[in-house]
């Protein structure tokens, strides 16, 4: 009996330790004004360090093998390849003018950049560090994403109010969908069946069907005590089981929790000022938000759907990427 108890205790301890290890992820945040990258330990809720990275860093992504970070340093007109452990700069990619947002394909060998001023999407071969193609899109392309099945490359243009459906095989636009004004960000569901697009000016999120490229649902938001003009949705992420979607509501300082099956807004969570970008932890139990004006990131526990902590990181946090 005593042995059984002992084994039980040991197993529990081991499980707790492993769980602790499982949350040993690292959060990377680009600091637009500090020209740096902030490294945060989310389990401890502390800023570990800040590394100088280049002029006006914004978009950030992690390679599929978690070894390299890609960081768009907008004022240097390049995307830097950074070692995710030592933070040494390994190389640069020819991103074109003023890169802000970009997307990696699932294989991690191609990178697609929005060039806002030139109304272009630049396709880059990462291994060769060469531009393969420049695709002419609508005015001010902003949000960009690749479907998990690698069929579609999506570019949304802020001024043309359009979603461009680009075939990844030949890098040509196959379809366009007119959406609500000033579309900002786009995200696919894990099954690639739906595309969620946020509209900053209309304050809505539109859900598009990948087969028909048509809007099947438009969701609006209401936050008590906040006027509608403050509700400016930007970042959007959907969990892998398509149970819930999370939308950053910008100057409303809230993240909306949406039931991804019924499309109902279940609740809004208070985070820092001007929340723009969001990222899941690898196990999708946590969500991290960058709050541009309050200079911090908020940590959200998705099991309890509560904001557990906000950690100061530096001036103008913009993009966020998570390393397991």
């Amino acid at each position: 009996m005593k042995h059984k108890v002992l084994i039980g205790v040991l197993t529990a301890t081991l499980a707790t330790t492993l769980l602790g290890l499982a949350r040993a992820e690292t959060v990377f945040v680009t600091l637009e004004k500090d020209n740096a990258l902030a490294v945060v330990d989310p389990a401890a809720g502390t800023l570990v360090k800040t590394v100088p990275i280049g002029q006006r860093p914004r978009g950030i992504a992690l390679s599929p093998d978690n070894k390299q970070l890609y960081i768009a340093t907008s004022d240097e007109n390049t995307i830097k390849i950074v070692d995710a452990n030592s933070f040494k700069i390994l190389g640069k990619l020819p991103s074109g003018e003023d890169p802000e947002t970009f997307a990696l394909n699932p294989a991690g060998d191609k990178l697609y950049v929005s060039n806002e001023d030139d109304s272009l999407v630049t396709v880059i071969d990462i291994a060769k560090k060469k531009v393969i193609k420049k695709i002419k899109v609508g005015v001010e392309p902003e949000g960009i994403t690749v479907s998990p099945d690698n069929k579609w490359l999506i570019s949304v243009s802020e001024t043309t109010n359009m979603v461009h459906w680009i075939n990844t095989k030949n890098n040509t636009i196959e379809a366009n969908t007119l959406v609500d004004p000033r579309p900002r960000a786009a995200s696919f569901t894990a099954d690639s069946q739906q595309l969620w697009v946020t509209s900053e000016m209309a304050g809505t999120v539109m859900i598009l069907d990948s087969q028909t490229q048509q809007v099947i649902k438009t969701i609006s938001f209401e936050v008590s005590g906040i006027t509608n003009d403050k509700i400016q949705p930007v970042g959007v992420v959907i969990d892998k089981d398509r149970n819930r979607a999370y939308v950053a509501l910008g100057p409303a300082n809230r993240v909306a929790v949406i039931n991804a099956k019924t499309f109902e807004v279940e609740k809004v969570l208070l985070v820092g000022q001007r929340v723009w970008n969001l990222a899941f932890s690898p196990d999708q139990k946590h969500l991290y938000t960058t709050n541009g004006v309050s200079n911090d990131i908020s940590l959200i526990d998705l099991d309890t759907q509560t904001v557990t902590k906000s950690v100061g990181v530096g001036t103008y946090p913009w993009g966020v990427a998570i390393k397991p």
């Binding site: 005590g225 300082n253 208070l270 985070v271 820092g272 000022q273 309050s294 940590l299 557990t308 902590k309």
Partner: protein, 267 residues
């Protein structure tokens, strides 16, 4: 005089207070309505008023409702403390105080029993208030609901002792309005119950100093930290010292040979 006498007297006093509280349903409801009006009406209008600064014990941004909840708990205890002192004045006018005071037990013990009785009642009110605010999406970690209990006992005793002290000064029930104007309101508004110190500092450094040394502020901060499972040592010590001072003064005040009652011509 053995312990049994003490026990019986204490339960007599506490029982009477609880009985009063349970039977006077209006008193129970009005004690709850006051903080709830503040929570549902006042706080709703000030949702975004706090601006941005995360101060301990909070680790992230909070709504104003969440901020003022510990302050409203303090308010419940403040009014309760004053109410029991009001009842002392009433008891004195009606003569039931005399029966209590001629009881062959030390006066400090009788007063302490009276205080404990009032504190017990206020704690019941606080937990009912917390229960209602739970449904209004004001959630604290579950441990907080346990940790808050000792904090409530201390803050309840301190505010009750202040009430006792005041009641020793007041001869007639009508004078109680003065307590309202000169004690309850300044204490409540010049505290961290409604707005944090840093916010007050922005408008007036003097006011924020007053608020900092206000024992009610310290009691509220002790409750605020306890509700989030944290121990605020400074606030706790300050409240304890304030309790000892008020209690000692109240005991002196109620002493028929030295106290206020003599100066004013007896009870």
């Amino acid at each position: 005089m053995n312990l049994m006498h003490y026990w019986r007297a204490m339960w007599g006093i506490i029982g009477r207070e609880l009985w009063r509280f349970v039977t006077q349903r209006e008193r129970f409801i009005s004690a709850l309505v006051r903080p709830l009006v503040w929570l549902f009406v006042f706080a709703a209008g000030f949702r975004a008023a706090l601006g941005l600064a995360i101060t301990p014990p909070y680790e992230t941004y909070i709504l104003y409702e969440v901020y003022i909840t510990p302050g409203l708990i303090g308010m419940i205890q403040l009014f309760n403390g004053m109410q029991s002192s009001l009842s002392m004045v009433y008891d004195r006018e009606m003569g039931s105080m005399r029966i209590l005071m001629v009881c062959p037990l030390p006066r400090w013990f009788l007063l302490l029993s009276k205080l404990l009785a009032g504190t017990g009642v206020s704690i019941l009110q606080v937990y009912v208030f917390l229960g209602i605010s739970w449904f209004y999406d004001i959630h604290a970690p579950w441990q907080g609901y346990l940790w808050i209990l000792p904090a409530l006992v201390l803050s309840g005793l301190m505010l009750g002792a202040l009430g006792l002290l005041l009641s020793s000064f007041i001869k007639q029930l009508e004078n109680f309005a003065g307590v309202m104007n000169f004690v309850i309101f300044p204490m409540f508004f010049m505290s961290t119950a409604l707005y944090p110190l840093w916010k007050m500092k922005e408008s007036s450094a003097f006011l924020s100093q007053l608020a900092q040394y206000n024992p009610f502020s310290q009691a509220v901060e002790m409750i605020r930290f306890a509700l989030y499972g944290q121990f605020n040592q400074q606030a706790c010590l300050y409240t304890l010292v304030a309790f000892v001072v008020f209690m000692a003064a109240a005991i002196v005040g109620y002493n028929p040979s030295k106290g206020m009652m003599v100066k004013k011509g007896g009870g």
